[in-house]
């Protein structure tokens, strides 16, 4: 055991120096941050248009008035996101796996998966929302969903699944072939090899890019406003139309930021942890 270890004077002196250096770095970081913020603030508030901008975009009363509605709308965005995200994950992994099937009987499925990703990665999300949102009800199909909330989810899922499928596929491709060889040589079938050996490792690798796509999906839930559901952007629009003050937009923007920032930090954290593990392994 190491209980008999008493830090030597040399080690104590070293740690004192390290702490001093840490304090110096911290104060340097603080000073430079303060300077940048102050300069930016002065530059913006001193600009000739600032008083008007402040009045129309950063009006306290308008903020307080609109916030309850915008916040209520925002819950709808969160719901859109919470429903769409798991579906995107499952379907994306499914499409990626289908593209990896090699047996000839699966050719039609594989071709379909390729066609699907090619098409839906190419269509701008906003266009897809219009096409699904107004196109599907126009078909007047029996049992086809007609409410804008569901249609919005369908459009988002169609679009994001194609991106997420590609992320999964690159993760699967990044697993070294020797891992497959090892699994197959133990007698595991293709399916078992994917399930127990390849996919679990691939998922660990693609978590950061996946979270990135999710941040993007969170934002794009606002596009569903085009179909009419009273989500955050739509609520903000209503307030803006009434008061001709743009502060509700800023309120909505702040809410979106409040949702994506924690996710971005979480992504960084995971990436750092993965890098640390690779370095230490």
């Amino acid at each position: 055991m190491t209980t008999d270890w008493v830090k030597s004077d040399r080690q104590l002196a070293r740690e004192t120096l390290l702490r001093a250096r840490g304090r110096r770095s911290l104060s340097a970081a603080t000073t430079s941050t303060v300077i940048v913020v102050v300069v930016a603030a002065v530059a913006i508030t001193a600009s000739p248009g600032w008083p008007r901008v402040q009045e129309t975009f950063f009006n306290w009363d308008a903020l307080v008035n609109s916030l309850p509605d915008v916040l209520r709308g925002f819950l709808l965005n969160v719901m859109l996101f919470m429903i769409a995200e798991p579906i995107v994950l499952v379907l994306g992994l499914g499409v990626a796996l289908v593209r990896g099937l090699r047996a000839p009987v699966f050719f039609p499925l594989r071709a379909l998966a390729v066609l699907y990703t090619d098409i839906f990665r190419g269509i701008p999300v906003i266009l897809l929302i219009y096409l699904v949102g107004f196109g599907v009800p126009a078909l007047q199909l029996q049992g086809a969903p007609a409410d804008p909330f569901t249609l919005g989810i369908i459009a988002l899922v169609l679009s994001y699944t194609s991106f997420v499928a590609e992320v999964f596929r690159s993760g699967i491709d990044s697993i070294h072939p020797s891992q497959r060889a090892a699994a197959r040589s133990l007698g595991l079938s293709h399916g078992q090899t994917m399930r127990y050996v390849v996919v679990p490792q691939a998922i660990r690798r693609v978590v950061p890019p996946l979270l990135n796509d999710f941040a993007s999906l969170q934002k794009d839930t606002a596009l569903v406003a085009l179909l009419g559901p009273l989500e955050a952007l739509r609520q903000a629009q209503i307030h803006v139309a009434k008061t001709f003050n743009y502060t509700p937009y800023v309120a909505a923007a702040l809410l979106f930021i409040a949702l994506t920032v924690p996710m971005a930090r979480f992504t960084d954290h995971l990436a750092a942890r993965a890098a640390h593990r690779r370095g230490g392994g």
């Binding site: 040589s185 133990l186 007698g187 595991l188 127990y196």
Partner: protein, 240 residues
């Protein structure tokens, strides 16, 4: 009876014939060492036996069944053959115990409790009892390679293929891996080893096969191959 027979196996990569009509018979409990220069085709031959590569001509039989038959089920055949690679190829996202029990549980339908107790027994036998819950990246190279061998043994293969299992290891770690192989020979495991460890090959093999540019030039008991090689190419390889 012969456990494994290899008849006139050819393997080509593009225009390059890597194996040129190799014939080899391995009996039950026999230990065969493949020796030969780098690039002579040792790994390729082992990969063909394990169906990780498809042969371009010839046939391989295991227990009298032709495993190179295109109608044979490769998954079913691989269940009876274990292979260990130079680079270990352990699954990094699984503990040592899960690495070992994956195939018994998922391929052979052994219950988890039983698979784990068997795995623990064999880990104990090879001095790795305290590593069961460890992930591969926390093990030394020698420990990883021993786990890889145990993983291949856990499905009770009829035949074990070992491809230069010590050449990625520090010289001080080589012996712990060779020790396992010696033990396996004592239990009667049939093995084919590709190796550059000549002293070890001489010590453990029943038969030495010398491969040169895809041809099995000479084979026989170690004493004959090492002390009285007949073929000039063998002499050249061994004595330089």
């Amino acid at each position: 009876m012969a456990l494994l027979t290899i008849d006139g196996v050819w393997k080509r990569y593009q225009d390059h014939s890597v194996l040129r009509g190799v014939d080899l018979t391995v009996s039950s409990h026999e230990v065969v060492c493949l020796i030969g220069a780098s690039g002579s085709g040792k790994s390729t031959l082992l990969r063909c036996v394990n169906l990780l590569e498809t042969v371009d001509d010839g046939a391989i039989h295991l227990d009298g069944q032709e495993i190179t038959d295109v109608r044979a089920d490769p998954d079913d055949i691989r269940k009876r053959i274990g292979i260990v690679f130079q680079a270990y190829n352990l699954f990094p996202h699984m503990t040592v115990l899960d690495n070992i029990t994956l195939a018994p549980r998922k391929v052979h339908g052994v219950r988890r409790a039983e698979a784990e107790s068997q795995a623990r027994d064999i880990l104990t036998r090879f001095g790795l009892a305290d590593k069961a819950a460890t992930y591969p990246d926390r093990l030394s190279g020698g420990q990883q390679q021993r786990v890889a061998i145990i993983r291949a043994l856990a499905t009770h293969p009829r035949l074990l293929l070992l491809d230069e299992v010590t050449s990625a290891l520090d010289p001080t770690l080589v012996n712990e891996v060779l020790g396992i192989i010696r033990e396996l020979k004592q239990t009667g495991m049939t093995m084919i080893l590709a190796t550059h460890e000549m002293t070890f090959a001489r010590d453990i093999a029943d038969t030495i096969c010398f491969l040169d540019q895809g041809t099995l030039v000479e084979h026989g008991p170690p004493a004959q191959i090492f002390d009285a090689p007949q073929n000039p190419r063998t002499r050249e390889f061994l004595y330089g």
